[in-house]
Amino acid sequence: MNSLIVRRILRGDVGAAARLMRDLDDELPSARSALKELYARAGRAHVVGITGSPGAGKSTLADKLVEAARKGGKSVGVVAVDPTSPFSGGAVLGDRIRMQRHTADPGVFIRSLAARGSLGGLSRSVFDTVTVLDAMGKDLIILETAGVGQDGVKVAGAAHTVLVVLSPGQGDDIQALKAGILEIGDIYVVNKCDRKDSEQLTRSLGLALEGTSPRDGWTPPIIKTAAVLGRGTRELVDVINEHRSTLVRAGAWERRSLNMARTAFMELLETGLRGFINEECERGKDCRKIFGDLAARKTDPYSAAKTTLRKLLSKSPPPPSFKKRGCPPFSKACPPVPRRRGRRGI
């Protein structure tokens, strides 16, 4: 049955792809086997990440990039993430508003995702959604993060080319010196460059980036744009393409792809382990006892964590969080998992 869905998706069936993305977002085990087939077909698209603070102009820039790519005859997928409410679990996904004019274009597939508790501006399902779009044959995939602060660096492991978008009026030159988001850009975009104070931002950004050693044969440039007015966006597109060819020339394309695969894999591993630990701790009385011991200062966090970790890792897989949902995400189609005895390391 899955391969029917897969066949429809590979044929470009938007509805089927959208439903699978939904199932993946909702973590349905059935969707994972479909993803497995698609994963083998993916890996060709150029993934461009756009990150920056809320209101910097990420969506508007994405809209212009879509326009340019379409003019160049490329098919485009857009994955736009917005934050989930930590209180209600709901979300307002509004990135699409800026790109809505492309909806009727069959060469463009725009998908909004809610972060669903993931930090760093991405959602857990971002990687899966990109895989589906990639397998559908999209040449360019734009990955727009939720508005991030200073340490939303996760996108660096999810894209070949990372655009960091800044806009004027967000603080002095010390802000530009800080660690985090201002280290991950392959291209820095000073948007809203029609505003007077944008010159100062460009200058302090330039100073902050000065002396940055080139990575993969590439020194991150600063591009000035006014996305709403369409100013500078053509140059930006040229620079993005240039980055791509530089990566390919330097043999760094594969390295980036490997890094992206690694990020997605580690993310899954961490999620699985976290779920396992949470469940074990919720069920077991051990943890409650540990909390008590800690509060009473009978032990310290490091020793307690070390002992507990050792104990957890000696338990036989599969982790219960996977078992409940059907099968672990990295298993074949739910084979019986052999019981293992004895202590096991990772």
């Binding site: 939904r22 209600s88 679990g89």
Partner: protein, 135 residues
């Protein structure tokens, strides 16, 4: 299947030449607070763009708001386009200035519920939740 895990996804859109989106935004916010993922596409949308967005976003519901008087034409068109695109699982509901006499016709055309001005937003969220039971 697994209904507790599924997050309800809703697209709220304003078809046609009508810039009054206060009501739509109030609904967007209320549904967000009810724990749903709400995609808002903004004002002055064509029925084609709305149906296309609904398919790409894989939503359960499309909520249409119209205060201009063109609801009969626009709402019906959205329902038809959704069907044409094979999005049969998508339920359409609506709000705005809709004369009571137009409601039976709209319901017959496939708009499953119409929430006139003065509807408590809680009622809308409750209706959506009940209608999403089968998911």
């Amino acid at each position: 299947m697994n209904s507790k895990k599924r997050k309800i996804r809703v697209l709220i859109a304003k078809p046609g030449l009508d810039g009054h989106d206060r009501g739509a935004k109030v609904v967007v916010r209320a549904l967000r607070d009810a724990g749903m993922e709400v995609i808002y596409t903004g004002i002055r949308q064509t029925p084609e763009a709305i149906a296309g967005a609904a398919v790409q976003e894989g939503v359960d519901f499309v909520g249409l708001s119209c205060l201009s008087g063109a609801h009969n034409h626009l709402f019906t068109k959205v329902v038809k386009l959704l069907r044409a695109k094979g999005a049969r699982g998508v339920t359409v509901f609506a709000g705005g200035i809709i004369p009571a006499s137009d409601i039976p016709g709209l319901k017959k055309a496939g708009v499953k519920a119409i929430f006139p001005p003065g509807t408590p937003t809680r009622d809308i969220a409750q209706w959506l939740r009940a209608a999403a039971k089968h998911l």
